[in-house]
Subunit: 401 residues, 2 copies
Amino acid sequence: MSTQPTSRFGDEAVPLELLRARAHNQRWAEQPDDVIPLTAADPDFPAAPVIRQALIDYVSSGVFSYGPAGGLFEFRQAVARHWRQQRSADLDASGVIAVNSAAAGLALLCRHWLSPGDEAIIGDPVDFLFGHGVRAAGGVPVTWPIDRFTPLDPADLERYLTPRTRLLCLCNPHNPLGRCFRRDELETLVRFCLERGIKVLSDEIWSEIVYPPATFTSLLALAPELAANGAVVHGFSKSFGLAGLRVGYVAMADPEAAARLLAGSEQPSTVDGVSTLSQVAAMAAYSPDGLAWLAEFQAHLRQRRDQTMEALQAMPGVQAIPPEATYVAWVRLPPGSASAETVVAQLLERQRLAVVPGSPRWFGQRAAGHVRLCFATSAGVLAEGLERLAAGLEEAARQSG
Amino acid sequence: MSTQPTSRFGDEAVPLELLRARAHNQRWAEQPDDVIPLTAADPDFPAAPVIRQALIDYVSSGVFSYGPAGGLFEFRQAVARHWRQQRSADLDASGVIAVNSAAAGLALLCRHWLSPGDEAIIGDPVDFLFGHGVRAAGGVPVTWPIDRFTPLDPADLERYLTPRTRLLCLCNPHNPLGRCFRRDELETLVRFCLERGIKVLSDEIWSEIVYPPATFTSLLALAPELAANGAVVHGFSKSFGLAGLRVGYVAMADPEAAARLLAGSEQPSTVDGVSTLSQVAAMAAYSPDGLAWLAEFQAHLRQRRDQTMEALQAMPGVQAIPPEATYVAWVRLPPGSASAETVVAQLLERQRLAVVPGSPRWFGQRAAGHVRLCFATSAGVLAEGLERLAAGLEEAARQSG
């Protein structure tokens, strides 16, 4: 395993002082100084230089008037071009709607497609935002058990359908399982939904963090009638570290469907909207220099994934399958462990390590007995975090044994 | 009348090329090149240099991690300090919640306070966002006639109350009437509401654009029990030209009420939120250099108001009362005119001037027969716009006469 860091993602590239001021959502700024947070999925590195330069250039002229409701035309064009070139997707600028975050896009689509009492299928486990978005729309989340390897099977899904089922929510690549769905299983599943009038909401926010030989297939890269049976949400927080800028998008193969979504949203009224400056950052992310930075980040993350897995395999009783995608590790605690919440509280108190517990609240019922840790940091910070995890689990085993 | 422009707000300071690229929402970027838009209330000038510099400084370090749900602590502190120092308001940082725009804050408060079927009193005329926010929350807007001079009278208001009345929405200073409510009328009205369990939502987005000798009194500057009976919404689009950055706030005298509002919002889930970069811009706006820029802008606007009124008074049959606040003029068309929508369409087609019609859709039933024009531009652009208005009205009078 090579842990030779490039200077851009080396130990010295993690700006601890700035992170302690700026990284919220359970991270550095919300922890005591001696705690290492491997919590929210958010990188510990500064944004790509091309993004910073684009922001400075835009800011210098100082005009910050109202942007258009659906996003800057240049932004929508840049996104569409990116998907055509990088994802083999047939996407037009008019099929792209800028939203305040991928999470906001997910919530918007749930409101758009669900009436009160309608049911939506979500995975178990999966990120809490799916159930949250469905409930906020008045819908009822119906959980579909999912694991790392069992193929998505319409015959299995059928058992969870009722006459009120309107929506299937996919997280592809899957958080927290780290799984990329295969093209053939997606095709079968989406066709099954299309035939039953069920829309597919595909959260593809992790789709740029994929480790070869795994490959990612977008909903929008399927056959036209399948691609048009739903929408993709995406953002810039995971791939480019722009969570604080609040920018993402909804992408739809059918421009008329996108126009209806926009018209039904609060963006034309100016109640909702996306900072034009954040859209400028996002356009720079999809520039050649931005994608070159991303390729370096991906290479770094692959090393961190391997570092994480090697360390986890040395911890007695711990189970963790190397993720094909995402920069989170989904860790099954040793048999006989206390609850994930208890273990997480002890890790924080005794080892000064913060990770996310596999609570129903965050990931669903089948997340019990797991913790999730984010490895989008330097080799050195990660090594220290993994040592603390090992020490904490060893201590817990001594206590229970 | 002095029309000697300072260089910061002179004719040459209006960056037409940039506005044609960046100013949406019915403005330069959405009109043919030969049209002068005096439409959306949004200045034609670049943002203050201190704002641009603060953005550049923040961007240079490149860390854009998740911000806190309620806004950066420094942002909340800066807002609270501003209100204490400039508005004589007893506001603590914990009473401030960053929101995506003043419009978003208004919508959030409506959802927070109204259950389906609850009634909210809104002025007629008033900006469309009040009725829009009430309806989006499932509430019923009940319109209360308001004009430029008649004091707000609880005895009059009482006629519009029912057992379902939960909320009074005030726009102070008032858009489009340009009126500042007096302290004594606010006190009487808010006490009347307090005694009846009716909350007060005070949209004070125009409160920095006030022309002496008029003075502005905030809800938050009233006696503590009155100040605590509601909330203020404010933003940075009108005073500082930051509409594109999507940043505003809700301010509440009662920090616990603010905490409940935040907890009930979609900000803790990360579905909603405000760009940290936009908050940095907003903090710079409230710095001494930002406020010095604002004072110059106010002085410029006062000249533009006088220029606008002088021109309007020379137009036969037109009525317009000089606004005490805001940079919009509320213009009553001459008796016998076609509808405001027709006049606006003719002005656009024949004179290449865009203004906002006093449609029920934008301002309420009592807005009929009016147009609204924004004068936050240079003396030269405004002179040309007013000439086109005069020519258009003269032509219309010839046709109808």
